[in-house]
């Protein structure tokens, strides 16, 4: 895999705490701004209006009627159907009818081609569904206001918060309907495209990852190994025939991690780097040492194994191993027994490169304990579930935005939010906020551009530039705030796991995406409700 799943780990208590701070802050800002506006426009009586409205809103919130919400959901659903939202199936049909033409010859199916098929289906399904949802979510309420058909709803006992909720659920349901039909067809398409003889390539491996650290050629610990000059520094390299090692620690190792025959299955995808070519017909070799971290003398080292670059390779270690006529049990002798300092069940694994002056590269996720596989459909439907959550998120943001601004602006706003939710934009914003981007903030960058100054040129220290930097830092803090309300879609993209033959992990993908989606429910509903309640519906 070309990424470390642990990057996506969210600590739920910390996430909830963070959410409460941001949501609380925004609520406070909205309330203060509303109060000030009323005070300015209505004078002292503004206080009364403010509290009456606030109490009215709270009443609405606590007197929601599922029946009315369901009626509005059905209305949204029927409206979308009449607007021919399901015409997207025509595009989908065309795409899948001819996709086979673009995807190569299925007679020569390779493991890598399976990856392309799965990626294609999951990407196509999500790219076709999301625009439909975005348009329906952003244009529904503004169209109702424009055509004044909203009056037929608001004059009924339905509350405005129920309109917002009904819209959100209705749009999401249309999205889920489209998604589920496409997913079933997509699943059948994948299975049909892969010849019967290659069906075993459709699998869901279940990995257990450990923590890795590296030792340099003198045997000193460090976070990373050697950089051999790759542009993509995902993997670190260890030098052959030296004390350089990659050391993993696997936690909670017990019998559930053994296969049905009682073996420990270690799978790796190491990379090879030669500082000289040498005998090219001879692969580079590595060995694996399993050891007890409480007593490193108790260890077992495998025979040298050839590196199988860009592919997975399994090393099957029997539970009982013999070293110098002494038999060890992996679970009883090589894992920790547990003490005050070291928890129970930790297994140490050390990887060494055998060949002198040659290097083997690895990242944390390149070595894992392989648990029994799950059927392909398990991972596939988890990935679809991730897309379903994205549909819900987009519909919530879209509906909330459409209550505040006109439909096209709401569509652009939602689309921009979605684009900015990617991994790279978030990384860039993180760097900006942390001051890691050379060239400074907005004003400083403008100054540098105009004056043709490079990003590394020192600026003169004078009061004007101090003001510029203070202004920039205020904007950066505002950016930090904005960044908190832009979702992180990297959690939702589960297709990479499935395409690479892995199950979608709960801890690194499903739980984070569920948390992110949940985090947006209350703010989006309340914002939509607040905007619709305060909006003049006569104004088009």
């Amino acid at each position: 895999m070309y990424f470390d799943p642990a990057e996506n780990f969210i600590h739920p208590p910390f996430a909830i705490y963070n959410w409460m701070i941001v949501a609380g802050f925004f609520t406070a800002v909205v309330l203060v701004v509303s109060l000030l506006t009323l005070l300015v426009s209505k004078g002292a009586s503004g206080f009364g209006v403010f509290f009456t409205e606030l109490i009215g809103m709270l009443k609405d919130v606590f007197s929601l009627s599922p029946r009315r919400i369901w009626a509005l959901t059905r209305l949204t659903f029927m409206e979308a159907y009449r607007r021919k939202a399901l015409a997207v199936f025509v595009v989908f049909g065309l795409l899948f009818m001819f996709a086979g033409w673009f995807m190569g010859d299925s007679k020569e199916i390779q493991p890598d081609q399976v990856k392309v098929y799965i990626s294609f289906v999951l990407t196509a399904v999500s790219w076709l569904t999301l625009p439909v949802v975005l348009i329906l979510a952003c244009f529904g309420i503004p169209e109702d206001i424009r055509l004044r058909s909203i009056h037929t709803v608001v004059t009924k006992p339905a509350r405005r918060i129920e309109i917002v909720l009904g819209r959100m659920i209705g749009v999401s349901m249309i999205g889920w309907l489209v998604l589920s039909v496409m997913s079933v067809v997509g699943y059948l398409w994948i299975v049909r495209q892969i010849p019967q003889a290659s069906q075993e390539l459709l699998k869901c491996r279940v990995p257990v990852h450990g923590l890795v650290s590296f030792k340099d050629r003198e045997g000193t610990y460090g976070k990373e190994g050697i950089n051999v000059g790759d542009i993509w520094a995902f993997r670190s390299y260890i030098e052959g025939a030296t004390k350089s090692r990659a050391e993993w620690r696997f936690f909670n190792v017990d019998e559930t991690m053994l296969d049905s025959e009682g073996n420990l299955r270690l799978e790796n995808s190491f990379s090879a780097f030669r500082s000289y070519k040498g005998d090219m017909t001879r692969p580079l070799f590595y060995d694996i040492k399993l050891f007890n971290i409480e007593n490193p003398e108790i260890s077992y080292t495998t025979q040298p194994q050839p590196v199988n670059e860009f592919r997975s390779k399994q090393d099957i270690i029997p539970r009982k191993v013999t070293v110098d006529d002494v038999q060890y049990d992996i679970l009883n002798d090589l894992t920790t027994k547990g003490s005050d300092k070291i928890p129970k069940g930790i297994l140490g694994i050390e990887v060494a490169c055998i060949d002198r002056d040659q290097y083997i590269g690895m990242a944390r996720s390149d070595l894992f304990i392989r648990m029994p596989d799950r059927p392909f459909w398990v991972g596939y439907w988890k990935a679809i579930f991730g897309t379903a959550l994205t549909v819900l998120l987009v519909s919530m943001i879209g509906v909330a935005a459409s209550t505040m601004v006109k439909a096209p602006i709401a569509a652009v706003l939602t689309a921009v939010m979605y684009i900015l939710s990617g991994k790279n934009p978030h990384q860039f914003m993180d760097q900006l906020v942390a001051g890691q981007v050379q060239g400074g903030g907005v004003l400083e960058s403008v100054y540098r551009l105009v004056m043709h100054l490079g990003p590394s040129t020192e600026l003169p220290a004078n009061p004007a530039f101090t003001v510029v930097q203070i202004f920039d830092s205020i904007l950066m803090n505002f950016l930090w705030l904005c960044k908190q309300v832009i979702p992180r879609s990297q959690y939702f993209n589960m297709s990479e796991y499935v395409a690479n033959g892995f199950d979608v992990p709960w801890a690194y993908s499903l739980i984070p995406s569920l948390l992110v989606t949940s985090a947006f429910i209350i703010p989006c509903v309340m914002m939509g409700y607040f905007a619709l309640r305060t909006r003049e519906l006569e104004s088009k």
């Binding site: 070309y2 673009f102 993509w232 005998d279 590196v307 670059e309 860009f310």
Partner: protein, 449 residues
């Protein structure tokens, strides 16, 4: 405002549409393929060979993609190229290949796209893999990709050349060429049942001979469609040079019989009778005249017309011959046809094999025999020119290196006089040549590991 009703306005629009359609239909009338040339657009398309089918095989999916994207093709292509670059950096080869496929569907007639991606697969991607069969797979992918490029762009001389180059140069001269050349005849992929991959080698020939066929096609195409890769004289030498490569590779493989002799004889014919008789244009006096690399005295006089121009013709021919190293290869072809030369090659080959097998006495004897053979050959005035070229000198000096090393290992005194001593003294200052000899010598050790 006017007084027309809605229906009347619609009728007016309809008439307007029909009136405008008439010239469009007239301009774009299709040809019937026989007598009627069709409309102006059709005639112009035929005149400038701009039709999809004139450019190469028609790929329906590619044409459909381009039409569907309307004016957004450029944007889509840019995004795909960025993806390709990222996937290459991240070593996501499957995705990279899929992106390459998408790019060529959007830019099927942009030759550089085929050229760049073919090279990328054959040279860059293959080098990223560690196992030799994996490397060969990607070299093949590059060659197959370029071959498809040729099918889609029948007017491209350069893609024909590039395909030949991958098959001749990458397979024939990579560090792993011994394995690649073997795999070219017997593919490591079990799907081919130990035979060649029919897509790039349908007749199971040597890679240099297949490369030669591609270069022949490129030279044929070059007569009508110019190339911008090499000077024309060098470009047209490529088929014959492939034949030389083939003959030399047979010797490297330890084949010194009739097959090798025939290969050299064919190389001589290709060089002197085909390539040597090609016509080039040179400025002789005020006019441009046709010259050949291989010209008889009568032909020179006939082209020149007067004694002054005769000198100019000789100079022009000489300049071309120097640029293409013509005389060396001609002499080499003649020399290789001699039995003594074949024996000298055989002796050096046997010396290498014996050295690898650590049979030092046999290796020394064979190396000395080879050195004597080449010493005799290079001292003959008609073959003296061969000492100027590095390829043959490398082989001679490798023979000496083996011979010299055995003396050193045995702790014996090296004789003061030995065959090829003069060549060693002459070339000792040539660092590049000596480095190449040392590299080949080191490989004899590595093979022993």
């Amino acid at each position: 405002m006017n007084n027309m009703t809605s229906q009347q306005r619609k009728l007016v629009y309809l008439i307007g549409i029909i009136v405008l359609l008439i010239p469009i239909i007239w301009l774009s009338l299709p040809s019937d393929g026989k007598n009627k040339p069709g409309g102006v657009l059709s005639q112009l398309r035929s005149q400038y060979e701009l039709g999809e089918s004139d450019l190469g095989d028609v790929d329906a999916s590619s044409a459909a993609m381009n039409l569907v994207l309307l004016g957004m093709r450029g944007v889509a292509v840019n995004m795909l190229w960025m993806d390709l670059d990222l996937q290459k950096d991240m070593k996501r080869w499957a995705e990279m290949q899929a992106t390459t496929e998408s790019i060529v569907r959007l830019q099927p007639h942009y030759e550089k796209v085929w050229d760049f991606n073919g090279w990328n697969l054959a040279y860059n991607t293959s080098a990223e893999w560690d196992a030799v069969p994996d490397r060969y797979y990607w070299v093949k992918q590059g060659a197959k990709f370029l071959k498809r490029g040729v099918e889609r762009n029948k007017r491209s001389t350069e893609l024909l050349y590039r395909t030949g180059k991958v098959i001749e140069h990458k397979i024939g001269y990579a560090d792993e060429s011994i394995d690649y050349r073997r795999y070219f005849l017997s593919d490591p992929d079990p799907a081919f049942n130990k035979g060649p991959d029919p897509t790039i080698n349908p007749e199971g020939k040597d890679n240099f001979l297949v490369g030669k066929e591609w270069f022949d096609l490129a030279c044929e195409s070059e007569l009508t469609r110019p190339q911008h890769i090499l000077d024309r004289s060098l470009f047209r030498a490529t088929p014959a040079r492939c034949q030389f490569d083939y003959a030399q590779s047979l010797q490297k493989d330890g084949k010194f019989g009739e097959e090798t002799r025939a290969a050299w004889e064919q190389a001589r014919k290709d060089w002197t009778e085909v390539y040597g008789r090609e016509i080039y244009h040179a400025q002789i006096g005020a006019e441009e005249s046709d010259i050949r690399l291989e010209m008889t005295e009568d032909e020179i006089k006939q082209v020149a017309g007067n004694p002054d121009d005769e000198l100019r013709v000789r100079r022009a021919v000489d300049a071309y011959q120097k640029m293409t190293n013509y005389r060396y290869w001609r002499t080499r072809a003649f020399a290789e046809a001699e039995q003594d030369t074949a024996e000298a090659h055989r002796s050096i080959f046997e010396a290498k094999q014996a050295y690898k097998a650590q049979e030092f006495d046999n290796a020394r004897k064979a190396a000395l025999s080879g050195m004597e053979g080449f010493d005799k050959l290079l001292k003959r005035p008609e073959y003296a020119i061969l000492a100027e070229e590095e390829l043959l000198c490398e082989e001679c000096l490798l023979g000496w290196k083996i011979w010299d090393d055995i003396y050193k290992v045995a702790g014996e005194k090296i004789p003061d006089e030995f065959p090829l001593k003069w060549l060693l003294e002459l070339k000792q200052g040539n660092e590049q040549l000596m480095a190449s000899v040392n590299k080949q010598f080191r490989r004899l050790f590595q093979d022993n590991r």
